[in-house]
Symmetry: C2
Subunit: 183 residues, 2 copies
């Protein structure tokens, strides 16, 4: 699902400006999606051209006019249609996992640092999601997705805590007996 469709989806909930949509991305989707202004603003222009949203300009003192977008009936239909299509596979790119993959090229200290950093980051994301889970104004979908994120992140933390010694130990062995291979 591209940024354009996601913007349309957020506009099914309430009218909003590009700036507000960016904030919505950050507080609620940030753990599995993100978007920059450079993709949001063009997306909103395009949706307007296509008649899926309308734009109302609110003049403001000494600031660019605030452009408030509102979804049209056609836009709502288009979005529901998009939701109906079978979703594509998740795409995950994790520098962390890619690095761990080659743990045998790193020192035990480097691996420990890497995992410490990951745990800190994951715990802080977890804390953020738990805060979000408390907000009762959220749509049912939001709450489910937040709970999903919490479940996954908890599993990650548990895994790292319980198994980190395995990979930290493996590094100690370096190029262990039998690894005379490719050189």
């Amino acid at each position: 699902m591209d940024v354009r469709t996601l913007c349309l989806g957020l506009l099914t909930r309430s009218e909003a400006s590009g700036y507000e949509i960016k904030k919505a991305f950050q507080s609620g989707l940030s753990h599995f999606y993100d978007a920059s202004f450079g993709s949001i603003y063009p997306a909103l222009s395009r949706l307007t051209e296509e008649g899926l949203v309308t734009c109302k300009e609110e003049p403001q003192d000494k600031r660019p006019d605030k452009k408030v977008y509102r979804i049209t009936p056609a836009g709502r239909l288009a979005f529901i249609d998009a939701l109906g299509r079978p979703p594509g596979h998740d795409r995950i790119r994790s520098d962390f996992l890619a690095t761990i993959l080659f743990a045998d090229l790193l020192s035990p200290r480097q691996i420990a640092g890497l995992i410490d950093g990951r745990l800190t980051e994951t715990r802080s994301l977890l804390a953020e999601l738990r805060e979000q889970a408390k907000e009762e104004t959220r749509a049912a979908g939001d709450r489910f997705v937040i709970a999903y994120g919490i479940a996954v992140l908890e599993a990650e933390v548990t895994f790292l805590e319980e198994r980190r010694h395995v990979i930290e130990g493996a590094a100690l062995l370096g190029r262990a007996p039998g690894s005379a291979a490719a050189d």
Copy 2:
């Protein structure tokens, strides 16, 4: 980490052709990374230009020459240097979660279908990873990353099994009470 760096990483393990690198992506990284020929072949050309790998052409009957790439000492240093840099954040794009986010716009049947599909897919990926976990020739990093994937996917399956009723029920509320049976 881009495809170019990842190719370099795979070549720290053994020499390989572009075709073989594609296979390596599929059997071992596919749950958190993927790459097409369209990115692998140019990446290998570029690595060769930069002197990080060398290329040996093996002529084959009635097929394009097989080009076997081997990492150079400079390449190995460059890769270890890349591993040392702090990893960026994970990037996840999940059409499934994006769709669930707007569950209130879908019928209970659609949501159930969506979750059934997700469970099937996740279980099949899980089975694949469990097969991979059995392979004893894997590097320590591979095994750790595979186990990591298994832990996360198990948490996802458990979450969906235990909590799906929450979101399936929420969809019921989005429609006129009593009209659920007619859907």
